[in-house]
């Protein structure tokens, strides 16, 4: 399972390298950066969104648990939960910004 996953990931990573090896050999040595940037942007956003979902799920689960135990403190818990969710979410937002820089600004050409 793990080996096939690794092979699949390596195949995906190698695909643009193979496709653009000729262009790189032809003289434009940095032609491979663009396709890799697209790949990395997609993978980075996928990992960030998935792990951010896990983290936010834990936070919300704990907050809902606490709210069910103490309904009187629900408002304060909700405020704290929203702040926590924002702080967790900002990590995924950093990755989104990096992905957008890779896709749209393209600092390395």
């Amino acid at each position: 399972m793990r080996r096939s996953l690794m092979v699949a990931v390596m195949a995906v990573l190698a695909a643009p390298g193979l496709a653009f090896a000729q262009a790189a050999a032809g003289g434009d040595a940095r032609a491979w950066v663009g396709p890799y940037a697209v790949l990395v942007a997609g993978f980075a956003m996928a990992f960030a969104a998935g792990l951010c979902g896990l983290g936010q799920g834990r936070a919300v689960a704990a907050a809902v648990d606490a709210m069910a135990r103490q309904p009187g403190a629900a408002a304060r818990i909700q405020t704290a939960m929203i702040i926590g969710l924002a702080l967790i979410e900002s990590l995924a937002i950093y990755v989104l910004v990096v992905a957008m820089i890779l896709l749209f600004v393209q600092p390395i050409k």
């Binding site: 929203i82 702080l87 900002s90 937002i93 989104l96 957008m100 749209f104």
Partner: protein
């Protein structure tokens, strides 16, 4: 952004779009404030009533978070919050550019917050005492290290404030733009109107589903995000200000980045 980018309906020559629409938001907020405070009555009606409710809510929030000292900063916090909220909501009007979907606007707001809470802290404690708070309650040997770490964490605050607001807004806009591009005249609706039978069936149904999805789900979601991000920006501003005020009493509480 190439194919999904679309210019706003109204542009001033030589002025960036986000500045134009920041002015628009400023005009709207000024007009609302003028209408609300033109005939101030003891028993408020209409716009005055509405704005009093809004400000009272923000004041309640400040009381909850910052305690009794917080009411002094109500004008600053409420102005920031109302501006960010109006700018977020303005970006949802079709054909408008969002001021907060540009890094410059959000960075301006975050730098104002950064300067403001340091100014408040220095005015409250004096520069020497305020800088001493950065070193924290640790042994003397660790104080320089602590100082550097605190400086970095304080510098990360405006960065994270900037990027959170900007990323949330731009992410939503890119999502909406891609959905519109998929269902627009070059996408499903265009396919439905092209005359082919398969296009009429698949494109028509798919376009309808996407329109319902956008209007019924994505737009309310974006409005929720607009309110939530304005709330979070204001909330973190309050936490930073109260952290700068109270550092003498409570030492270092939880760090917020």
């Amino acid at each position: 952004m190439g194919v999904i980018e679309h210019p706003p309906i109204f542009r001033l020559p030589g002025i960036p779009d986000h500045v134009t629409y920041t002015w628009f938001v400023m005009v709207v907020l000024t007009a609302v404030a003028f209408v609300a405070s033109r005939h101030v009555q003891l028993v408020p009606r209409g716009m005055q009533n509405f704005m009093e409710v809004v400000l009272e809510q923000i004041g309640q929030l400040i009381d909850d978070v910052m305690g009794p000292e917080g009411r002094r900063y109500l004008p600053f916090i409420a102005t920031l919050g109302l501006f960010i909220l109006a700018a977020n909501l303005a970006s949802l009007i079709p054909g408008f550019a969002g001021p907060t979907a540009n890094l410059n606007t959000t960075a301006a707001c975050a730098i104002i917050v950064f300067v403001a809470y340091h100014y408040i802290g220095i005015r409250k404690h004096g520069p020497i005492t305020y800088l001493q708070h950065f070193m924290g309650p640790v042994p003397l040997l660790l104080k320089p290290l602590m100082f550097v770490i605190e400086i970095i964490s304080h510098l990360a605050r405006p960065l994270s404030l900037t990027l959170r607001l900007f990323g949330n807004m731009v992410g939503g806009h890119i999502l909406l733009a891609i959905i519109f591009f998929l269902m627009g005249l070059q996408g499903l609706i265009g396919w439905a109107m092209s005359g082919s039978v398969a296009g009429a069936i698949v494109g028509g149904v798919g376009g309808l589903v996407m329109i319902v999805f956008t209007v019924g789900f994505l737009y309310p979601l974006k409005m929720l995000v607009s309110f939530l991000q304005a709330f979070i920006f204001v909330m973190l501003t309050m936490l930073y200000i109260s952290g700068a005020i109270e550092e003498a009493d409570h030492g270092h509480g939880a760090e917020h980045h």
